[in-house]
Symmetry: C2
Subunit: 203 residues, 2 copies
DNA sequence: CGAGAACTTATTTGTTTCGAGCAAGTAAGT
DNA sequence: ACTTACTTGCTCGAAACAAATAAGTTCTCG
C-alpha cells in the first residue's frame, strides 16, 4: 500500500516539522527536558523513531527549534498587545496579555518558559537566543517609559533600573506559575500587583 | 597495597558523600543537569564509575541530595544575616547577603539555583522541596514586614502582595546572574535598586 | 506529450557506542 | 564471621550516524 501524500517535498518537511513540534511540546510538558527523547518525539509525531534525530541532529537543536517556533508566536502576541502604547498603558497591556496567555495557551507558554529556565543551565545552547530576547524585552520596557509623555523626567532618569526590576519580577511571576500551575489566582494576583506597583512608580 | 583509611564506615560514607557532592557541583556547573552523568560524578570524586549510582540510585536523587546540602548551607547564611531584623533592615541585609554569596561562593549558588530552575521542569522530583523553600521565604518576608514597628498599617495590609513581588524579583535577579555571570555590576545594580524600591515601598 | 529513467530529498531501519541501573564480587570496618 | 562501602560485570535503552527505502522532481527519449 502506497503512502504517497501528494505533497511536495517542502510541504512534507513542513508537515513533519509541525507534527514534531507539537509532539515535542507535549513531551517537554509531560516529562521535562531531561525526560524528552528524540525517539519519542518522532514516534509521538506519527513517524519513525529516527526522524527527529535525522531532522534536528540533537536534542539541543530540537529545543532550539521549539523555542524559536513557540517564542515567535508568543512574542507576536505581546507585540500586538502593546503596539503604539507607552507608559502605564503598555505595562498594563503587557501584563494582561502575559496572564491571558498563561490561561489560554498554557501548553505553549509552559514549554517556552521551561526552555527559558533551561537556558541558564550550563552548556545550554539556548542561552544566546534567550539573552537576545531579554535584551529586547528590557529595551521595550525602557522605550515604554522614555517615550511616554506623561512620565516625569526624574522617573525617566531611573528608567533602566525600573525596566530591570520589571523584567526580573515578570520572570519570578512566570516561575511562580510554572511551580504552581493550579494556582491561577495567585498568578493573577502577582500580575495585578506588579501592574499596580509599576503604575505607582511611573506616576 | 592496602587502601585502608582508618575511618569508620560512617566516616567513609560521609567522606564519599562530600567528595561526590563537590564533584556534582562542578559537573552541574560545567555541563548543566542534562550533561551530568552519575558515572562522571563517581569518577570525578575519585571513586569508581558505579558508586554514585549505587549511593543515590538515580540522577534525580543525586540532585535532591545536592540541593539539600547546598541549600541548607545557603539558607543558614541568609538566616544569620537577617536574624532579629525586620522591615527595611532585614530586606537590605538579605539582599546584601544574597549578592555577597553570588560573589564569594558562586559555585554553590550557581548549583543551587540551577537546580532551583530545574525544579519547574515537568517531572522534576525537586519540586516539592523547592516549593517549601518558597513558602518559607515568602513567610519570612511577610514576617519582616508585619513585625516591624516602623511600617504603617496600610503597608502591612498589603504585605502579602509586597512579599510576593519581592520574592519574584529576587528570582528574576538570580536568573539574570545565571544568564550573565560576568556582569556582576548588573547583578549588583539589580540588588541595589530592589533594595531601594522596597525601602521606598515600606516607608 | 507521456512514460520511464535518473536524480534529489524525506523518511526508515540498522548498527555502534555510551550510560543507567542492578547484580555479583571484592575490600574495609565491626 | 558478619556487615557495609565500594567496584566491576552485564543488560537494556537512547543517541548518533550510516545505509537503505520511499516519495517527489526533473530530464530524456520515443
Amino acid at each position: 500500500m502506497s503512502l504517497a501524500t501528494g505533497l511536495t517535498q517542502a510541504e512534507r518537511t513542513e508537515r513533519s516539522d509541525q507534527l514534531m513540534l507539537e509532539a515535542a511540546v507535549e513531551l517537554i510538558n509531560e516529562r521535562g527536558t531531561r525526560g524528552t527523547r528524540l525517539k519519542d518525539v518522532g514516534i509521538r509525531a506519527g513517524y519513525s523513531r529516527g526522524l527527529a534525530g535525522q531532522r534536528f541532529g540533537s536534542i539541543e537543536n530540537l529545543f532550539a527549534f521549539v523555542l524559536r517556533r513557540v517564542g515567535d508566536e508568543w512574542l507576536d502576541h505581546l507585540m500586538q498587545a502593546t503596539r503604539d502604547q507607552t507608559g502605564t498603558e503598555a505595562v498594563s497591556r503587557a501584563l494582561d496579555e502575559h496572564y491571558r496567555f498563561c490561561v489560554d495557551a498554557p501548553h505553549h507558554v509552559q514549554t517556552f518558559y521551561t526552555l527559558w529556565f533551561e537556558s541558564v543551565s550550563a552548556g545550554s545552547e539556548l542561552a544566546d537566543h534567550i539573552r537576545s530576547i531579554h535584551r529586547r524585552r528590557h529595551r521595550d520596557v525602557l522605550t515604554w517609559i522614555c517615550k511616554d509623555p506623561c512620565i516625569r523626567d526624574e522617573v525617566k532618569a531611573d528608567a533602566d533600573a525600573i525596566a530591570a526590576q520589571f523584567c526580573s519580577t515578570v520572570i519570578g511571576i512566570v516561575y511562580y506559575w510554572l511551580a504552581n500551575p493550579e494556582d491561577l489566582s495567585g498568578t493573577r494576583a502577582r500580575h495585578e500587583s506588579l501592574k499596580r506597583f509599576m503604575c505607582e512608580r511611573l506616576q
